[in-house]
């Protein structure tokens, strides 16, 4: 990719991210209550979307060989257990990632 292609992608991400943050203010900033179904989706959609994104992250999983699924499963379990145990974002993310890197580079 050349510089303008990279810049275009970054610009799209920046504009869309800003829009998601600005939308509630654009729609409901002038007073008035947001419709109830918007509040409802606002409350229950995020957990569903995070579950969706986790499936997205695991989309390349393959059961054709052990290395296609074991590292992701083991490191993923480690992240969840670490986080339930210590509740430390940095420890869970960095720890899980290092474990995954060791698994894909050295073990499998």
């Amino acid at each position: 990719m050349n510089i303008s292609q990279i810049a275009a992608l970054v610009a799209v991400m920046a504009v869309v991210t800003f829009l998601t943050r600005a939308l509630p203010f654009l729609l409901f900033g002038r007073g008035g209550e947001p419709p109830r179904f918007v509040l409802y989706l606002g409350r229950f959609l995020p957990p569903a979307v995070i579950a969706m994104l986790i499936v997205y992250c695991y989309r390349a999983t393959s059961f054709a060989s052990l290395s296609g699924w074991a590292p992701g499963l083991i490191a993923g379990l480690a992240v969840v257990l670490l986080h339930v145990w210590k509740k430390n974002n940095m420890l869970s993310i960095v720890g899980g990632t290092i474990l995954y890197m060791v698994l894909v580079q050295v073990v499998f």
């Binding site: 990279i6 275009a8 992608l9 970054v10 610009a11 799209v12 991400m13 869309v16 991210t17 800003f18 998601t20 943050r21 600005a22 939308l23 509630p24 203010f25 409901f28 900033g29 947001p34 179904f37 918007v38 509040l39 409802y40 989706l41 606002g42 409350r43 229950f44 959609l45 995020p46 957990p47 569903a48 979307v49 995070i50 579950a51 969706m52 994104l53 986790i54 499936v55 997205y56 992250c57 695991y58 989309r59 590292p71 992701g72 993923g76 992240v79 969840v80 986080h83 339930v84 974002n89 940095m90 869970s92 993310i93 960095v94 899980g96 990632t97 995954y100 890197m101 698994l103 580079q105």
Partner: protein
């Protein structure tokens, strides 16, 4: 923003300082590992300013994704920001031009801080919020540049570093799981997306488009059950 406000705001931002430095370092490192100059880490963190969005951004850049795909994926990954805005409508009212920056910088962490803090006696409330937002943004930029430079200088085998994005979502999921008594949306999200993945295949992540439609439709169908009645 004066020294008094800064002194009042800084201690509140310490947890975010730790968090953003570490998550930012990982982002910068991932971006370097994908072959992009540290300048891009600085540009992305200044203009996009979204943790999970930028982790995804590394992948979009690495794959040279089409702009439409990039827009769609960024949209759904940042969907939750809608909720944050809804609960900040009152707080940001009357902030003048600062309001635009407050909206831009409303990340998960800044939202959590703003939702929980009160300006101390004698410190202007709006200025206090603004200072917190600026400090958090600076931490994020600093962390990403640090990581990007380290990643460019230290050449180790970085295969697998992109797992950081998965780890970040898992962490968010654990926290959401523990803070809510109702898990039906999680099952719906996982099952609906998995079904779309199996039907449409993994290419370009386009299976997320029908998946998102299923989630919204499914949630609307489940609304009477989730919203009303038997609150546990």
């Amino acid at each position: 923003m004066n020294r008094k406000t800064l002194a009042a705001a800084f201690p509140h931002t310490l947890p975010v300082l730790m968090g953003y430095l570490s998550i930012g370092v990982v982002f910068g490192w991932m971006l370097s590992a994908a072959g992009f100059a540290p300048t891009w880490a600085a540009v992305m963190s200044s203009t996009i300013y979204a943790g999970s969005g930028q982790y995804l951004g590394v992948e979009l850049l690495k794959n040279a994704s089409p702009l439409g795909d990039a827009a769609f994926l960024t949209l759904i990954i940042n969907f939750r920001h809608l909720v944050y805005g809804l609960s900040m409508l009152e707080k940001f009212r009357g902030m003048g031009w600062h309001k635009l920056y407050m909206i831009f910088s409303l990340t998960d962490e800044t939202y959590a801080l703003l939702a929980g803090v009160e300006a101390p006696e004698g410190v202007d409330e709006k200025d206090f919020y603004f200072t917190i937002a600026v400090l958090d943004h600076l931490y994020w930029i600093a962390g990403s540049i640090l990581g990007a430079v380290a990643g460019a200088l230290i050449t180790i085998n970085t295969e697998g570093i992109d797992f950081a994005m998965t780890a970040l979502f898992l962490v968010i999921a654990v926290e959401q799981w523990q803070s809510s008594a109702r898990h039906a949306p999680v099952y719906l999200g996982a099952a609906g997306t998995l079904a779309c993945l199996l039907i449409f295949g993994p290419e370009n992540g386009r299976f997320l488009i029908p998946a998102l439609a299923i989630l919204v439709a499914g949630l609307l169908v489940m609304r009477p059950r989730l919203e009303g009645g038997n609150k546990r």
